[in-house]
Amino acid sequence: MMLVLPALIVVGLLAIWEAYARSGAVDDFILPAPTEVVQALVDDGALLWDNFWVTAGEVGLGILAALLVGGLLAIAIHLSAVLRRALYPLLVGSQAVPIVIVAPLLVIWFGFGIVPKLGIIALVCFFPVVVTTLDALAAVDPEQRKLMRTLDATRWQEFRWVEAPAALPGALSGAKIAVAVAVIGAVFAEYAGSSEGLGNVILQATPQLETARAYAAVALLAAFAVLLFSLLSLAERLLVPWARRDTEWSTRR
């Protein structure tokens, strides 16, 4: 039910696209018809599949690195006013650094392997994780803190029993934003220097006028991003079952 409307929109757009591409108004190396893209998915299946796994590995590990770094940074900044003053401006500043400039540098330093890709994906992904986690930590109900104090909880116990679980939904929201940009980050990183991956396939296919293959790679990337997003939504439902119930409950009041 949830997917019916987006599916209708996609089908409608594809139909218009197909009709326009077949009308002969454009060459198919400029705009291939959707059916040609599907054909490319089948014909170049082995090639796309092999390269998909390369990019999927980069994105998966990159997001894990971003979650780890982002989560730890958020906790450190939350616990220490000094670190907040020292690091927060740098974190915001890091997002203004153009990836286009950084990516080739990382390739020069670390070569064509997976390391520069992880660096770039982590760089674009960790920021939403840090911000949403920090906001969630700051939004902890002061009454719950008071409760922990009257039960003589230590700072660590307050974190373990109240702050960490309260911040988990925020961290997962950040991760959901992160997966959407992680795929773009991976393609950028592969553009900057690589020998494999779907970004590399797109880079190679374009000058060869294999436009349908490039579109097929993009379709795979988009599907992968949607899959990751759904997995995180599922994780959210399993890890924070109380969050949904709580909002339902409070809006009913």
Partner: protein
């Protein structure tokens, strides 16, 4: 034993003291510059014996919650002397943690005191049964009724093992029927687990039904208007003549 004395240095006192307030003052610092600090409690003096049940009634916003937070050491008095046995606060609204089940919430105080998960849960389990929460051990807080949530919160407070309980409007959010039920239940629970109890409420009848003494507070800053002793055996009904007469006197003192 915890002693706060302000502004002079803390004095040392010895056990079982109950709660002793001598000219206790508290003001909240000014919210903005050029605003005066807000006096919440003004020269409040009262002695509460160990094991006594004292109820505080007063107009809303008069500083009742502040008083409990002072006794529990969550705030430091800005003047006067306050001595109290180790006290625990049961905050307004239950404050159950939504990520723990009912048994986990009840066992929270013991987990914080260092007990292992299974050990803490095992010692809370029989009390859950006693308080009529059997079968709801694994229920999440949002699955419990208001009365059940209050009972879990009370159990959590009780299991902290502290000799003084500070209950802040524990039944404020409940409907009239559940309230009456919970009063009976609290009396039974305290017979089984005697503690020094400070109860804050805006419900005069509730205070008269439950407490050994009812302290009537003035509007902010809170001062003691009257201290009324309730000489009637428990359990009491709201319709008992003693309770009715006392309720009248308390209401008069409130209106004065």
């Amino acid at each position: 034993m915890r002693t706060t004395m302000a502004p002079s240095p803390a004095s040392v006192t010895r056990d079982p003291a109950g709660v002793l307030l001598k000219g206790v003052c508290f003001s909240y610092p000014a919210q903005r510059r050029r605003m005066a600090p807000v006096a919440a409690i003004d020269a409040l003096s009262l002695t509460i014996e160990p094991g006594e049940f004292v109820a505080f009634v007063g107009p809303s916003g008069c500083g009742k919650t502040t008083l409990l937070e002072l006794v529990c050491g969550l705030l430091a008095a800005t003047g006067g002397q306050l001595e109290s046995d180790d006290a625990v606060l049961m905050p307004q609204r239950d404050q159950l943690l939504p990520w723990l089940d009912a048994l986990g919430n009840a066992a929270l105080a013991q987990r914080i005191q260092g007990a292992g998960r299974e050990q803490a849960r095992a010692s809370a389990r029989p009390l859950m049964q006693q308080l009529g929460l059997g079968g709801f051990e694994h229920a999440r807080p949002y699955e419990l009724s208001g009365g059940m949530r209050q009972r879990v919160a009370f159990l959590r407070t009780l299991l902290s093992g502290k000799p003084v309980l500070c209950l802040d409007e524990p039944f404020g959010a409940l409907d009239a029927l559940t309230r009456a039920e919970m009063r009976d239940w609290l009396v039974t629970a305290l017979v089984a687990q005697p503690r020094t109890t400070l109860l804050v409420t805006h419900d005069v009848e509730e205070a008269c039904v439950l407490a050994d003494r009812v302290v009537v507070l003035s509007p902010r800053p809170a001062r003691v208007r009257a201290v009324l002793a309730v000489d009637a055996p428990r359990p009491r009904r709201a319709t008992d003549p003693v309770v009715v007469a006392l309720r009248e006197r308390a209401l008069e003192a409130l209106a004065a």
